[in-house]
Symmetry: C2
Subunit: 319 residues, 2 copies
DNA sequence: CTGTTAGCGCGTTCAA
DNA sequence: TTGAACGCGCTAACAG
């Protein structure tokens, strides 16, 4: 009984011969250890829960891959739970995961509200925010500086001589992908001495169609922008197609830049110039951070900000 | 103790007043039921495991959404496990899921090898194949008829007068997306009296880049095809861009059609004409089937074939 | 190095 | 309608 447990758990205190016999019996009986019983007895499940806000978003897929690789490396299982961009579902999923006694939690991409913080507080396992942050900075997190990324993107446009720059933003309620990127846009304009015109900002929902719609609005403006900054790749691609459908050319007539640099950025013509966020790394680093937390190691920086970079392709040109 | 259990599990045999008191205590103490202990005691976890072959594939994301909706409806939790298109990882994930005592298993999209069947056999929980099938048809499954879907796609091309039709196929080792679709292509040619030319078939890996590469090959052929059938949307988009980069036009110079009709099909210019597989439904129906199996209900058709349909957009034209 | 014992936190009898 | 006792399959601590 106990010896079998030792064998299964690779405890060295077993005579090799006995170990062999046990393995044979396991094979013969088709024995499969019961992780549920094990979890109950050991109070550890060696699994971490990952809540993913939107499974159909390519960004998160890449982040998840980073998470997985590191999780495997440290012999954790991960269970992915999709929350479908709905806050109540996020909360539900977090609680389910906690009930399942995961050893740690990775919360990916969503907005961290008061309600989230509340749910996190009642958890007695470590939690890491992944590709997002909380406003008061209490929860460990791994993310890029969205404000700076947006700033840099708009700077690219400004350096090319553009002064009439539209923005397709995500919802301003979203502090990371939404609000912070919008702030970066504003700061870039301000730094360049360009006055902010709210006519040139449209709110989208991160999806292709909303990029199309926003661009359509810009194109119908009496004096339309000569460049557009999109908060995400997908909306940027929508914008590019909208411009082309309108009979104009990118980047000759209108330049487009975005933040993300997902796989999609190369899957459009002209290929999209974008500020890249290191998605795989965000996943990997956050999982690594979580393993440390789970082992109760002390971590110096519980708030990791990863660098971003500009990937130049063909969607940006001179004014 | 036992009464709390009854309250938490909605057992009617509790005096309303007691129930209320228990709920209050739960609230006050911040009690969270331990799903692990519950699972051990009840021998049910009310969770089903879903193995997803490639989390970055848009198709599977949509299928997963169908699975989830139905799972929620029947109060099952789902835990997603990505297998990264690697067979050994699939097997590993299946075993992990089984150790975790899931009540059922959904195996999505991958090829079902002998090794898989073996792992499935040792499971004593029901399994449903989702967006794939096993060759000997022993395991319940929900899928489309890939051969017929491919046949129909090629027919569209033939009806437009094309006789020189290239195919960008997936690996022929993959019985569903690969081999079956290839067979459908061949049968369509044969039915139309067009002789099969293996020069006109390239094997890709379902990804954008491989679509580009395959098309590049076709374009350099002494007599290049006037139409191309791609096994997936993503490769088709690669093909379209390759054609355009070459200075040719779709569909004027070369027509392109594919099978899938993912969200991406509309995210390209010209928009992609494709045979649509009902991804959401595949997920939903397979989950529904699994719930029946888990409740040990008898099911008439354990082998469900869902219909596909042609979605006409702008990527196909006359010869 | 191996076996024995006592829980882990719950659901499920059975009596009360 | 409630509570007491048992056991789910395993790990942990201890004794041998």
């Amino acid at each position: 009984m106990a010896t079998v447990s030792r064998v299964v758990n690779n405890n060295p205190n077993v005579k090799p011969q006995t170990r062999k016999k046990v393995f044979e019996a396991i094979e013969r009986l088709g024995y499969r250890p019961n992780a549920v019983a094990r979890g109950l007895a050991s109070k550890k499940t060696t699994t971490v829960g990952v809540v993913i806000p939107d499974i159909s978003n390519a960004i998160f897929a890449e982040v998840a891959r980073g998470i997985e690789d590191i999780a495997n490396m440290y012999h954790y299982n991960i269970i992915l739970c999709n929350a479908d961009k709905k806050k109540d579902k996020e909360i539900r999923v977090i609680n389910t995961l906690l009930e399942k006694q995961v050893d740690g939690l990775l919360f990916m991409g969503g907005t961290v509200t008061e309600e989230h913080s509340q749910a996190f507080k009642t958890a007695n396992v470590p939690i890491v925010l992944c590709a997002t942050t909380d406003e008061n900075g209490e929860i460990p997190s791994v993310d890029i500086d969205h404000e700076a990324a947006a700033f840099d993107a708009v700077q690219v446009l400004i350096k090319q001589g553009h002064t009439s720059i539209g923005m397709i933003s995500g919802t301003l309620q979203d502090p990371a992908n939404g609000y912070a990127r919008f702030q970066g846009y504003k700061r870039a304009l301000q730094t360049a001495g360009i006055s902010y015109d709210e006519e040139l900002v449209r709110i989208g929902n991160y999806r292709y169609e909303s990029g199309v719609d926003a661009m359509k609005y810009f194109l119908e403006l009496p004096k339309r922008p000569t460049a557009v900054f999109s908060a995400t790749d997908e909306m940027a691609i929508g914008a590019i197609h909208c411009i082309q459908d309108f009979g104009l050319k990118v980047p000759e007539d209108i330049s487009v830049i975005s933040v993300d640099n997902s796989r999609m950025a190369s899957m459009v013509r002209p290929q999209l110039t974008a500020v890249a966020q290191p998605m795989y790394d965000i996943g990997a680093v956050s999982m690594r951070l979580l393993t440390k937390l789970m082992k109760k190691e002390t971590v110096e920086h519980a708030k990791v900000v990863l660098p971003h970079e500009i990937v130049t392709r063909q969607s940006v040109g001179d004014k």
